[in-house]
Subunit: 324 residues, 4 copies
């Protein structure tokens, strides 16, 4: 079995299907559309599903945004609303809950800056509830947030920072936002995943080293991830696969050529290629040229989705006014 | 007694002298020059000094940078070196110490962004000592850092964040950097203060609300402050004082006019003025037009001073190479 | 007569009134409110008005924004709409006109960056009309724009850059946006002026050196100005004036004190003060602490006002979609 | 012949060699090392060379920077010095010359922002020579600079802006800096090319549409280019080529498989692949993850190389002081 790790549940499923003929056991999938957004709701039901998917038991909802979202404010708002519903589905949001939102990633590295950008656009209310409770609507829920930076910037494991803060302020819910790497260019900056099993070590494009989960923190952890890059070596691998498939399609079934191609151990090929390509590609990523702009737009969509979910008493208009 | 609060020990002394004829008791002051930097070393010795200065017992060193520092890299380096010595004088830096450096202030507000800017230019080594101890020089000391943001951005008291982190990672020393307000335009962005008594509530231009000190954290706290603004209302007050002084100087001693002026309760005047001016000036600050550039330069100077002090095994050249 | 130069027509009028008892000749003023915006429409009618106001014959409309504009998107939109009308009143905008919009000022100096920020938020269409005329609505008007930088950044007079470009691409209209200095803190970032007489040398907070006008360029020039700072020395002067006025109010009419104060040559006083204060205040400005945020919001309002005025075929919603 | 366009002379030569057995006519190449920098000096001598290389007659010098340049200030300075020499070799720099430096590219798109970043770090002196000639050293040469933006931002062809400005201020030399796309990941951000034939339409990662050359402007034009990206489709193509080569190497010479592979029309394959991959890869680029930082460092190196070349009377230390 090919052992490419992916942070996206839909990709884990895809990889499984590429390598297995029988249907995957231990999961339940539900696909539907809402306001032009394709929603894939993956439930990992038991240990079999866990093993098959390489992900913990839990719920993972993936949103694929319509092509037009970058150029149409109305579509952006629609996606935010659909996303806020997905968020409400993976966790029971209660009125009195204090939520701590954590923007993971390095703000100096554009495609890794999604988390901090989302945090900068949230409605922050926890201090208002404490300092001027009479001045704000009692339906406003307490929300606080932090972008802890990355190990290279702080010298401190991100997990340590979050754990220490969670121990101190005891939120009822932690929401983490992280930039991910996808296996496919077509998903980059067009997909949002939200899940209720936290974040595993090594996820994200910045190679986080800690687990951030209910198990490690004692508090429910929602993980929101957006793939913002494809690793260049993944792209190279995929290009080769596509080329080989084309060769096979075009060669006569049963011919020596066909047989040779069919018998290629692709894994071995790719390792070989990796050795040739990797020294140059190791640290390289594939992104849209306008990554700065795209990250900006996607972070607004995600932030508003969170704002709507955490502040059901307010409409998107009120939130936009507040956030400005 | 006039009750203008100031974060700078040299200004507290100045205010006392303006209002009192006798010399201040309970403090010891030492002034000298080094590499063109004027150094004022204020020691508050006892409770009398504490009351007179409105600041806790401890050591406060103020550096006044030469006029040319903005345009001459060599002068910048000189100031960094002198500053690193002052830092070593207010705290015993030990080779095995882990230092946690905290950049206070709001990165979205240029004159308040000094702390976070300094932090972004530090040599961060704690993780290297832990992860790849064999690969780095044993003389490198472990340094970690964080810019926690401000209450309005996070919804969490900055003091809470620092306390929780200090409890978790147990550094031997905490160094806080903060942007301050000065009483005088001439000090803005030209003065660096370093002291060993931590930070009191209400300091800084962002009106921090917490005390950050050895008392509250159980760990020695060094506070580095640079005045980056004068409050507009302070400037207005000062302008009026200067005008009244000029009127007094020019009027005939003993005349009704002279007597009237002399008898003015300036405090009352200023309160009156404050009522007239304040509605417009409350939130306004006085800064150099090129504040973005100035903050950039001063943050480099402060960061390098800290780098030199914390890494005595390295020269400034090595540090510059590392920091890039 | 006091000779403080001001870029705002409303301030020139105010200064005249402070120093003269009779009503000003040669101007016509019209004040009214629209959507909460106070509009002052100053028409300088002849050479007498020109001399009295220190500004060329022409039309100057000043908008004072409601207090709430910073925190309410709807108010922002209202101001943009009112502003777009004012723009249409100072120049006849014709459907086939090509407009060149110029963002004056230094993008590295936050309070001077208004012009470049506005330009970055405009609908740019001239190239689309030329390259893909079939693909865009025939009602879209050709708009192009540039932020030429300032003399210190380019080594070229801004006027030279605009003149050379205007000679080359022959627009029918030039719109310049510039950050100004106000005399009063209460106007800072709350006032927008639009006039049809171009820009005089020495205007703006960056001390532009060129005239940009129909006379110098052969093309109608609309000037949009927003005061983003008060010079610190202006604030000091005003504080002193207010204090002296208070003293006069409180002293007994006819007393020596009263007479002395009344007879003070304030000009002389201020010069004196200037000598004492100026060395420190020369380059200092008074701004709101959150200048970065304020400039951001005001530039959006101004940009949308221009977008609406130049593209009457589109609604603000379409423009917002386009601009994103 | 494969018809992949490249902006780098060394790549054009490489492509030729891959497709032709005989040595290229009409060019002269000289390779050497200096201070650890590999220099390739390509001279296109005549029309034969022109045709073979797909580039105009002229001189193209390529610098390959040592691996360590990102982490060592001394290496950065060495590269700047070597680069300044190359610059002096492609154009006769005369003491009285006025140079206009043009930073091409879109400052909002990180990998395309190299040109504007270089311009922001130049010594700008033309205005000083005109305004305060007595105050500056007579050996300082007049330098001015502009970053005109891109068509989508201004609505004006970059070539129009440069032409109009050149016509107006009549510099003796124009130096353009542009971000390029490379064919190979290993060259990205590690190579600087300087040539004396200007810039052709369609160069650069932003697809410039104009020619900027002595022919179009009447003034010598030096073009400096740094590849900052590889197009994702180029990477995909290369990966496939490498895979096919590996297959050929491993298959028995003379076997059907070998023959089939050898006889593949790779061009056709790639077109096919392009159709499959292109919809997703069209606008995607390959860059290092830390592109923001890399662009920063490279722009400093290039800017200082230009500064040294244009101001031979100053040392790098003086320049660093000036630039700060």
């Amino acid at each position: 079995m090919r052992n490419i790790r992916t942070d996206l549940a839909v990709e884990a499923k895809e990889l499984y299907d590429e390598q297995n003929k029988e249907e995957m056991q231990g999961i339940k999938i539900n696909e539907y559309f809402e306001s032009g957004v394709k929603i894939t709701d993956v439930n990992i039901l038991d240990e079999i599903g866990e093993r098959n998917m390489g992900k913990p038991i839990g719920k993972y909802i993936t949103l694929e945004m319509p092509e037009t979202f970058m150029h149409d404010k109305d579509v952006m708002d629609d996606v935010s609303k659909v996303f806020s519903k997905s968020l409400s589905e993976v966790v029971k949001l209660d009125k009195s809950m204090t939520a701590l939102v954590v923007g993971l990633g390095n703000w100096n590295v554009t495609p890794d800056a999604l988390g901090p950008k989302v945090v900068s656009r949230l409605m922050i209310t926890r201090h208002l509830k404490e300092l001027v409770p009479d001045k704000i609507d009692e339906n406003i829920r307490p929300v606080c947030a932090i972008s802890p930076g990355v190990l290279g910037l702080t010298g401190i494991e991100t997990g340590e920072i979050i754990k220490s803060l969670a121990d101190k302020i005891r939120p009822n819910l932690i929401i983490c936002i992280d930039a991910l790497a996808s296996r496919k260019a077509e998903r980059v900056n067009k997909t949002i995943q939200v899940g209720n099993t936290g974040i595993s070590p090594g996820s994200g494009i910045g190679n986080r080293r800690m687990e951030i989960s209910e198990k490690s923190l004692g508090i429910p952890v929602i993980a929101i991830g957006v793939p913002t890059v494809v690793h260049a070596s993944t792209l190279a691998n995929d290009a080769i696969d596509i080329a080989l498939d084309e060769l096979i399609n075009k060669s006569t079934k049963g011919s020596e050529f066909y047989t040779m191609l069919k018998n290629l151990d692709r894994e071995e090929k790719q390792n070989l290629i990796n050795e040739v390509l990797y020294p140059q590609l190791g640290n390289m990523i594939v992104t849209p040229k306008e990554i700065d702009l795209v990250i900006d737009v996607v972070s607004k969509i995600v932030a508003n989705g969170i704002n709507i979910a955490l502040q059901p008493a307010l409409g998107l208009e009120d939130i936009n006014k507040y956030i400005n």
